[in-house]
């Protein structure tokens, strides 16, 4: 029902979605975006220009997991790590504990049903929060903060350098610690160090928040929290042997660990721990998971994250950043200014007149790229859509092939056959209606497409609609896949 769509979106996925809908309905889309002093506008006009999705910027680079976990070499890596620790420690683990607290019987039954390593890890977190390391006072929270500091910035690093000493070599004989990997140094807690103190304060306060422990007056002073933390007993570090540390940059996430007999017995042990201390928990005990909010400067979230990231940066001799810069990276904030937005708006509206006036040619439209900082303005005609050709057929992404009649699957395949194409798969929405690799689908060949849409895709076609759309995958005579338009079947 729309005449034109104007995007003012803040992310690529939403843009791609709107783009795909506009292509589907054949609607003009006026697309624009800004990045700092730069702005661009792109006109997507049906049957005339290419669509937004046709040319894409490369996706954002993400560091491999092993780099983030053990071998950071810039502050982005440290911040990505800090952000994920924040989530795991302050949001996910307490939420998990709450799920248990809400209905212990159901929770434990679910764990017992699938007693793998992942379940064990989850349960360990719950036990840690509610039993082993349950905090009862603010002093406990300070101790928790201090021990985490030790674990994060001393023990883990010491373990890493124990497993891979400075002179370690890889299987090919090259030094393990070569660029971009940096050899880390363990940190020793120093209550006089401002960064250490501010981390202690943020960590203790957030921990207290999770457990609903009131914040005492001394918590307002980072120095006082730091002094308190200095009194906490810390066990000396003893390195462990045979620790696995992921070093393969291609390992994206933790591979799912296989179920071992061990897990099951450990899980039972953990469950009995939980059961035995259940009575000790106050009635209606519940944790308050912390949701990351970068923009509230009084909530200690960014203090915690920048503290974590900067301490880690120190471990690896990476230059540290201030809270503002940390927020930019952790919050993925895109710089934006009113001026670039105003220019983009003007440029888009000027093109809107052309769309509304109608009867325009591609050379009448303009896409813009501008950088107000230089200033530079580059304006160009939009790009025409890619012309697809096969034998006597010509089409672009804007086309749709319409088939008339209440056809059977076989008839659709035949229609393609007649054009010299082999259709091997037909789908509707998320459902596969036909694929020649499944022997069972042979039975469907004689069935009406309209029937399969109802019985397989479970889509009810409203009485006022005379057609439905399917996606057909096909090959040409050389067996090469060919992108063909959407198939619209006018069945009544």
């Amino acid at each position: 029902k729309l005449d034109v769509v104007i995007n003012a979106l803040d992310n690529v996925n939403a843009r791609l979605y709107v783009d795909s809908r506009c292509v589907y309905f054949g609607k003009p889309l006026l697309e624009s975006g800004t990045l700092g002093p730069k702005c661009n506008t792109q006109m997507v006009i049906p049957n005339m220009t290419e669509n937004y999705g046709a040319s894409r910027d490369p996706p954002e680079k993400q560091a491999p997991m092993c780099t983030v976990h053990s071998f950071p070499h810039n502050i982005d890596h440290c911040l990505t790590w800090a952000r994920s620790e924040f989530e795991g420690l302050l949001e996910k683990a307490p939420s998990e504990a709450n799920t248990y607290l809400a209905d212990p019987v159901k929770y434990l039954a679910a764990i017992r049903q699938n007693p793998d390593a992942a379940a064990r890890e989850q349960l360990e977190k719950v036990v840690d929060l509610l039993v082993t390391n349950r905090v009862k006072s603010f002093e406990d929270c300070v101790a928790w903060a201090r021990l985490h500091f030790q674990e994060y910035f001393h023990n883990r690093v010491a373990q890493l350098t124990f497993t891979f000493p400075e002179d370690a070599t890889t299987s090919t004989g090259t030094p393990f610690w070569s660029a971009p990997k940096r050899f880390p140094k363990a940190l020793n807690y120093d209550p006089k160090d401002e960064s250490h103190a501010s981390f202690m304060q943020a960590a203790a306060i957030l921990k207290a928040e999770i457990h609903g422990i009131p914040r005492p007056a001394f918590a307002e002073s980072a120095a006082k929290v730091a002094e308190q933390a200095a009194k906490v007993h810390v066990d000396p570090f003893v390195p462990r042997k045979g620790v696995h540390i992921e070093t393969d940059p291609k390992a994206e996430k933790k591979a799912s660990l296989p179920v071992s007999a061990d897990d099951e017995s450990i899980i039972e042990g953990l469950i009995s721990k939980l059961e035995s201390t259940k009575a000790a928990l106050p009635a209606g005990y519940k944790l308050n998971p912390v949701q990351f909010e970068k923009d509230d400067d009084t909530n200690f979230h960014m203090d915690f994250i920048s503290g974590l990231a900067n301490m880690r940066a120190r471990n690896y001799s990476v230059p540290e950043v201030d809270k503002l810069k940390a927020k930019l990276i952790a919050g993925r904030i895109i710089p934006a200014i009113a001026t670039a937005t105003a220019v983009a708006t003007g440029m888009v509206c000027l093109e809107l007149y052309k769309v509304v006036a109608g009867d325009k040619k591609i050379e009448d439209y303009r896409n813009t790229f501008a950088n107000l900082a230089l200033p530079l303005f580059a304006m160009a005609e939009p790009i025409a859509p890619k012309q697809m050709r096969y034998k006597e057929l010509n089409w672009t992404l804007w086309d749709r092939w319409t088939l008339e009649g209440d056809l059977t699957v076989q008839e659709v395949l035949d229609w393609f056959e007649a054009k010299g194409l082999t259709a091997y798969s037909i789908s509707c929405g998320q459902s596969l209606l036909y694929n020649n690799i499944f022997p069972k689908h042979k039975e469907r060949l004689g069935k009406k497409m309209s029937e399969l849409v109802g019985s397989v895709a479970k889509i009810e076609i409203p009485s006022w609609r005379a057609h439905f759309d399917v996606v057909v995958a096909c090959e040409d005579e050389e067996g090469e896949d060919l992108d063909v338009p959407l198939i619209s079947i006018k069945f009544r």
Partner: protein, 553 residues
Amino acid sequence: MEVVDKSRRYDRQIRIWGSHGQRNLENSKVALINCSATGSEVLKNLVLGGIASFCIVDNAKVTRRDLGNNFLVEHSHLGESRAKVVTALLQELNESVAGSYVEEDPSTLMSSNPAFFSNFTLVIATQVHELETVRLDELCRQMKIPLLVARSYGLVGYLRVSVPEHLVIESKPDNSVDDLRLHSPFPELLEFVNSFDLINMDDLMHQHIPFVVLLLKAAEKWRKLRDGVHSSAVPSAEATISPVCASKDRAMLKDIINGMRRQSPEGLPTDHANFDEALKAAFHVHSPPVAIPSEVQSILDDSCATQLTAESDDFWIIVSALKSFMDNEGNGQLPLQGSIPDMHALTDLYLSLQHLYRDKAEADVSHVEARVQALLKKLGRDSNSISRETVRLICRNARNLRLVRYRTLMEEFGGESSSNRGCSVLQIALHGEQSSLHEAASVYVLLRAADKFFAAYGRYPGCYDGQIEADVPALKSLTTQILNEVGATGSSVSDDCVVEMCRFGAAELHVIAAVMGGMAAQEVIKVITKQFTPAPGTLIYNGIHATMNIFYL
């Protein structure tokens, strides 16, 4: 609390110009002449950016015309003071910006109370006739206040900054080359390089030598081979290489680097990343970036730097100190930038190299600072009146210093003689082959013809329906007159353009106002923050063909 609040509100723009840039904005007081669509758009962008205050000078009442192109007036405002209602709505956008207005004719105000303008950091004139802008420009220059002129006219726009001299320390170029001094290494760097014995080190070390060391070793061999000089084993710090370098010389350097690679047990050359990096950076040695970019050289040679007085701007004193630094300790080089890119190297080697560059950069800052202090003393000023911070900022950005000088609007519009710089720029554009440039120059000439039309008839061409065609011949003859004035006799502006200009009827379209307002506000921010380089001339936007051109008028 206020401070925290502000850093959050302006967070996304502080990313671009930093908190020092934001501070400059928050201390700036801006005057706007005329708050029709263009002026309102400019100010809207600045109010969102967080200037300290604005003051609108406009004696117009809100008319139906305003309702069609200005978001900052409402239907209920018809007949009210435009300055008053725009001020009120602008303040809604940002309560930390103070707004005021003067309901007076700008031209009258210039005569009756010229001192009024001295209250501002910057003055913006929108939709002002050229004769009035010339007067305003004179006034602003007397008071040393930058002026920005912006105009939307139909589907075209005009934009111009006017300030005698604008200095940019942080020009923030999009692409900059690392300052590694590979073509003329400083002694500490050479000493570091010479501490490595590539022949006798083990394979592991060999694969993790920073490329800077490899390249400098190769450069030493290369220089000897190329120049056939056998004497000194150590290249001297002064040794620089001519920027022109034959391709066979370039190939020779690459061969030397590759020749330094070790062989694998199978007898093949190894492909370690540090050597690849050395190859990639080889241009630093054979085609080094010019030691002093021409823009910077002209700043160094500027009479403001060579003839200091007690009243000289701090910037010029530092520039003068830079110059004497270069003539002495600097060995003809600008101060070192001091940062190095990431590279394949053992961590401790990388860190030593990083310290080496940083220490050298700091030493350069100290030298310049000492010279600044000496100069201040000589000028009879407090020798500590310029902070090390400021000196360091200029040293770090030495390669990117920029200076823009704008001619007065009188000089732009005067056009008495054809030897005039602006005239020749227009002549070239109008006689030239490039159609977009010709169009832009035509637009410029037509804008001035329209002002002449106004001066003659008291109205703009085509502003009454039914008179469009009647106005065409008059505008055409005025156009010819301007072409003669700028010495472009014989060249012409197409009839289509003249007709189109009449058809505009001096209408102010919101879309054009939005584009001009965005650009104008950005130029204002550049001038106020002293970051990024403002457009160095007169900018003409043509919305019909979607082109933008800058003329140095």
